[in-house]
Symmetry: D2
Subunit: 162 residues, 4 copies
Amino acid sequence: MKVDYNELKQVAIDLLAQRGVTLEDIAKITLEIQTQYYDDITLEYCLEHVNHVLSKREVINAVLTGINLDMMAEQGHIKEPLRSILMNDYSLYGIDEVLAYSIINVYGSIGLTNYGYVDKLKVGILKDINDKSKNHERCNTFLDDIVGAIAAAAAGRIAHTK
Amino acid sequence: MKVDYNELKQVAIDLLAQRGVTLEDIAKITLEIQTQYYDDITLEYCLEHVNHVLSKREVINAVLTGINLDMMAEQGHIKEPLRSILMNDYSLYGIDEVLAYSIINVYGSIGLTNYGYVDKLKVGILKDINDKSKNHERCNTFLDDIVGAIAAAAAGRIAHTK
Amino acid sequence: MKVDYNELKQVAIDLLAQRGVTLEDIAKITLEIQTQYYDDITLEYCLEHVNHVLSKREVINAVLTGINLDMMAEQGHIKEPLRSILMNDYSLYGIDEVLAYSIINVYGSIGLTNYGYVDKLKVGILKDINDKSKNHERCNTFLDDIVGAIAAAAAGRIAHTK
Amino acid sequence: MKVDYNELKQVAIDLLAQRGVTLEDIAKITLEIQTQYYDDITLEYCLEHVNHVLSKREVINAVLTGINLDMMAEQGHIKEPLRSILMNDYSLYGIDEVLAYSIINVYGSIGLTNYGYVDKLKVGILKDINDKSKNHERCNTFLDDIVGAIAAAAAGRIAHTK
């Protein structure tokens, strides 16, 4: 089997957009993490790093898998009781964090604390994602962790570069 | 939301059975790992430990999620290109190993080498699972890693107990 | 070799005390994480869960290893350049977060966000630990991550129980 | 603090050499893993990939930390009871596998099964390392896992490239 990860990257970006998240939304979270460390950091610079994170195979695979799970839960293709667990973003489920961790790890463990921080404080678009999920309009069990993890990994990549 | 993990354990066991794997099949893999260390070990003893592994929330969640992904790929509910990646058990996908790792970790990192070993040598029922997957009769991308990981975790639990 | 992990737990508690951290200090961090979710939670209750976390083999091993590394860096037994990396808590080192992750994982991945949160905001005694480290009075490269991880794991354990 | 990871890479290579392991020894393990998949693979090719793995910050940090722990256990600088745990390569210690996992993860989770396989079968120089450790001539608790993990990560990198 031959898989072209340049094409798959675009699929991942399209899936995120379909779920209401642009790369700029993610870069804004990265910016908010990093402004406390670097005064002169710009959104463009963060966006560039988000783009690099999204070029990584592990990240693309995690995005495709997580968002597909969210969508199939919404559409009712996932069997009960897993469907209800996902629709309610059940706090002891934990597989969403497992996928997030595989994203964070791409630039080493220094992304770990950034992830926890943005997830807990629901920085930027994470608040919207979470609100929609709480109103049961959408199943965003994986989406919020994926978005937070990409933003945190991009912050980690910036720390590696600076 | 209230989730009863005793019920969910039974759902996980039923899903494994539906995919052709009994707890005894898993215990046989554990037995093969452990006979080189302990002469007097029995299948019953291994089965007991497999049962304990399957009582853990993280394990149950990983089983439900992985097997649902396999089944939805077969049924065509998962969108392309992820569907083809799963149907072909594409070697660079890696999310199956990520889920496996979350199972192994339940009894600490000592299960890690056992998992790699049984996965590589396709011990016991892992050979059947893999063959069916190769013939494209079934999508077992997650199933083989899940079964290997439970067997390895059970071996780790035995090492902790002895 | 026979290792008694009840004795080792006491060694770990003594090492933490020697580095200026009591179990009550850790429980206070757990309390601060959890008061936003449960009104009626007490310090005693958190302390009980911290105690359970510290009974786990993986946690004890991580505590012994991390604190020994901090101490040997201070005492000059660790060779350069690793010694300087540890003495300066170099942000790209990352092995401290790796050990922290092995602690958090003991109660599943739900501890992950709590860890990032307390680490970033330097909740409770984490501020003191970090200040001492910044003044180069002490090498606390591992200590702060270990303490944050135990507090986060205890919060995860409470979430599992409630 | 400024750290030059090109220099640190050389320090890591020197430390491995000091403990009796050359990069060629590691490449031989990678070769043995990969010959079953690719007929025409050469030692030079594997060596090149081992070299790339050793350029990664996370890998260098894990090598420096693990080998320092082995050496300080031998020299008696590590306090009891941790010293005895390391000198005896106590099977429930697990922190050696935790460090190994951070190495493997650098090229995604596909290195995981290779690591378990070579660790279990003690491929190539892993047998020597293990024998010396069993005779208590040396403390190689971390060394064997580090070497196996680098070899497995290199195999993972080859799979990504091919």
